[in-house]
Amino acid sequence: MLTKSRDLKDTATGETALVHIDTHVGGLITSKGNIAPGAPVKQAADIFFGNVEVDAMALVDCMEPIGLITRNKLLMKLFRLYGYELYGKRPIITMADTSPLYVNSKERLDVALDMAMSRPFQEIYDELVVVDPKGHYMGLLSIKDLVIRQSHALANSIVQKELANAKASELEKISQVKTQFLANVTHELRSPVNAIISLAELMQVSCDKGYIGQLKDRLALLISSSASLKAIINNVLDLSKIEAGKMDVIYEEFDAVAKLDEIVETTKVLLGNKHVDVKLVTSEQSLFIESDPVKLRQIVLNLTSNAAKFTEDGSITVRMEVAGKFIGVSVSDTGLGIKQEDMEKLFTAFGQIEDAKTKSREGTGLGLTVTKYLVNLLGGEIRFESEWGRGTTFFVRLPIKK
């Protein structure tokens, strides 16, 4: 009748669960080990030596427990000089504890533990003998197992709690950054929308008054505001594509010079009525490359529209040159420049983690993040040089062939 279960873990979850103090001891029986009181000590010793899992056995006579023999007690006696010879053939009852702690299976765990703990020190860890209301033997409750189980569960719950805390604070941080980022993007979207609303209103005024010349000026501004709105939306959409891992490269052969010319023209639109000169400088008449024209446009246009945003007067120059298997495209402006402390976080979408309330710079930090990602996607590199107050140059290097 040796059916001892030492498996302390809950089989369903693999976790050790904390045992609550109001549990009945009947549910916590760890072993049903028992032996007849008249069995020789030798037989009990064989059981203990043969089963390392067995820590104790109840001495049961016709279902009624009358004693407890623990591994410790048996070993202590047997290892004495001639212990085995002296005791081996005697009945086990002669060396057993004949007044172990009996507990009713309906007893609450805390009550049973109180009783167990008030025993003399050397018996504190002895098994409790669990009996049913009729006094019949049900099994043993191992204090040692219970302690191990409780401390496992406790340690586990502390680890779980710490993990949960760490995860929660991480999530909170991410959500904070995302909220701030959203606030910044919203602001960036509002600016051109507000300009568009005002301009449309003004065009209505011009129409009413019949001022055609004014209408034309305002239309140019309206188009420039719409173009910058579109650029922001494109970047937002691109970033979500990047985050979802759905950005594909579609290679085509196209004329890079013509593409850059087109971008220069769009940049002029973005500048509206600003007195900033935009030009393309290259020694090539045309240069066919194998790349993704949509992404190239996005890359260079992001750089020129940044330049347009931060340049009040002077010029924006797009240069292109061939260097071996690569083309180098640079965008220089005579604008505001980038402060030393801002340089490091330039390419991170959440780099401009300034509160929208106190935000001093225009821009979401979105354009350059998307740009860098696209450059890498096309197998290229991007870097920049800048002097605060003097201007900035971005250098992009892209492979000519796929």
Binding site: N194, I197, S198, L221, S360
Partner: protein
Amino acid sequence: MDDQKKTILVIDDDENLLMATRDLLENWGYRVYTHKRGFGSTAAIDLVKPDLVLLDINMPGLPGDRLAGLIKTFEATKRVPIVFYSSNDEDALREAVSVHKVRGYIPKGDIYELRQKVRQYLNCNCA
């Protein structure tokens, strides 16, 4: 008659919006001056002596909220009424108004609110 026109100075780095606001305000009968960056604003105020300043907040270099504090430190400019004119969230604007002790704010993009509030702030200005 022209001397009775109220003068408004609009400070904003966004040229499109600056022009649009100027034209709108002029259309409503105000004399309007524009200044396209934070820097040099106090000199502009001193020169123009406006009845009201519409001040953008998000400007590179010298943001409007800091500029408001600066304007208030100079003897020549400290009495001019300032109103934030910004695309920022209204809660943020309300907070900025109380922090920087300016007259109020007008959210960008609502032309009717612009018209009404400008009228309101100019009437309030009994200096």
